[in-house]
């Protein structure tokens, strides 16, 4: 290997600083969440304890954290499943031009760039003026889809742009029906990217604040609950909650990574000779 130029070390140092910038604050509150009972929101540490975590679990004085967590989790799951299914169908459809495809494409781009609070306001007004009740599972769910579907669809566009169509032609030549082609050829090939879409769908929903602000109704989702806490809670219990949600996110990433490795391994076991040629 040729020796690294000096610019490499400069850039590597810059990258290191960037990582520090990204992680620094999160690590700080992780440490501060272990403050003693008398500790405040800043350093110095006033003893160490798990007092604030206990506070979070026991008192429930700060609101309905566990209820909101359950709702956020359920909603994230609903949004995730819908995003995967609808994005795949949309991605397949967009491979051929259909009447209105250009218009729909621009709607999707609009959906991606429109300020979240406008969706929240608009959906909230629509529901209230037509006499329907806003609820996280109806209006909240729909509002979040306007954010997760464009992401899912853009990923599907990228996937299908790189998709080798000759696999499908081969399947067709062997007499597969269109559904069989999708089920046994297309889906297994795009499978790993679907896990990516699912992960995107879940986390975008799980963390979405602005789009659920006016559309969640009387039962808060977790980001709304956290937002409420920032305005009226001034103890490290807030940091404890932050640390817990971070740990939960790590767990979710872990689960998805495990899924990816498992599917990859199962595929390797199935022993495909694709791409190995005849020689």
């Amino acid at each position: 290997m040729e020796p690294r130029p000096r610019s490499f070390y400069l850039l590597a140092a810059f990258f290191g600083l960037f990582l520090l910038f990204l992680y620094g604050p999160t690590i700080t509150i992780a440490i501060l969440s272990f403050q003693g009972p008398q500790g405040g929101l800043t350093f110095p540490m006033n003893g160490t304890s798990v007092y604030w975590f206990k506070d979070l679990f026991e008192q429930q004085a700060v609101g309905d954290i566990w209820g909101s967590f359950r709702r956020s989790f359920a909603l994230g799951f609903m949004v995730m499943v819908t995003t995967v299914v609808v994005s795949v169908m949309g991605g397949l459809a967009f491979r051929s031009r259909f009447p209105g495809s250009g218009l729909l494409f621009y709607l999707i781009i609009t959906s991606l760039v429109i300020p979240s609070i406008l969706i929240s306001l608009g959906v909230g007004l629509m529901f209230s003026q037509s006499g329907m009740k806003v609820h996280w599972a109806t209006s909240g769910y729909g509002s979040q889809l306007t954010w997760t579907l464009p992401f899912g669809l853009l990923i599907m566009f990228a996937v299908f742009n790189r998709f080798d169509k000759s696999y499908e032609e081969a399947a067709r030549d062997l007499g597969a029906t269109p559904w069989q082609t999708i089920r046994h050829v297309v889906l297994p090939i795009i499978g790993p990217s679907l896990i990516g879409v699912a992960l995107f769908g879940f986390t975008l929903s799980y963390d979405e604040f602005a789009r659920t602000l006016l559309t969640a109704g009387s039962y808060n989702t977790l980001p709304l609950e956290i937002y409420g806490m920032t305005t009226n809670v001034t103890t490290p219990v807030l940091y404890a909650l932050g640390t817990l949600t971070t740990v939960f996110s790590f767990l979710m990433i872990g689960v998805f990574l495990l899924l990816v490795t498992l599917t990859a391994r199962r595929k390797a076991k199935a022993g495909s000779d694709a791409g190995k040629g005849m020689v």
């Binding site: 509150i29 397949l92 729909l104 429109i114 007004l125 909650l241």
Partner: protein, 282 residues
Amino acid sequence: MPKSLKSLLMVSPLAAVMLVFLVLPIVMIAIVSFWRATEFSIIPAFSFENYEFLFGSPVTYKVFLNTFKYALITWAFTLAIGFTVAYFLAFHVRSQNMQIVLFLLCTIPFWTSNIIRMISWIPFLGRNGIANSALLSMGVIDQPVEWLLFSDFAVILAFVHLYTLFMVVPIFNTMMRIDRSLIEAARDAGASGPQILWNVIVPLTKPGIMIGTIFVVTLVMGDFITVRIMSGSQSANVGRLISNDIALLQYPSAAATAVILLITVLMVIGILLRFVDIRKEL
């Protein structure tokens, strides 16, 4: 079944969601922006009152100017940092596995709640925060600096912290697709490092830069929560104007502001899209 009909059927759930939760709400906002409100209810009556008030108030112009200021400064920082990081990952990290690992490292904080990441700046920037004590002990300052937290500085810092990744991803993506032989050719033709960077890499990375710009600018322009938390309610942008009206149940007035914000954002996007064909870049 004809092919286009099948496509239409498959795309119908997507179209339905867009219609019900994007188009209709925007129409609703546009309608309500012409309504009137009392303290207790909103009245369906056609009037230009909200817009007259909006355009007649100096606050509006100040707040819009502030919104552009946030967007521009945040854009400059996220672009500079994002480009450098993407450049390092794409051109200086040699093994693909290492690239993936470093890239994942950058994305992990992204999975933590935005609000939590915002408030994690408080112990950093506060009067007795880490930044102040570090500066004090180094002797740079002899009194805690007050403007670190609850200021425009804090707002922009949080924006850069939250949104730089939206710049890194598309730029990195386009950089990875640059044919390496072009760079070799430039080097063979005698171009220096900076010349290659400026005349080869930057022009070829433009689509990624544009997509990242669209993300950052729209996220910052529509934001209301970062500005509220990080400025300690001392600064305002258009998003906050809207959310304040909502909090006061002044929906027609919020809707009018929202219409203007929407038009502004779409105009900015329209200008940016002239530089790049998104469909070709996917």
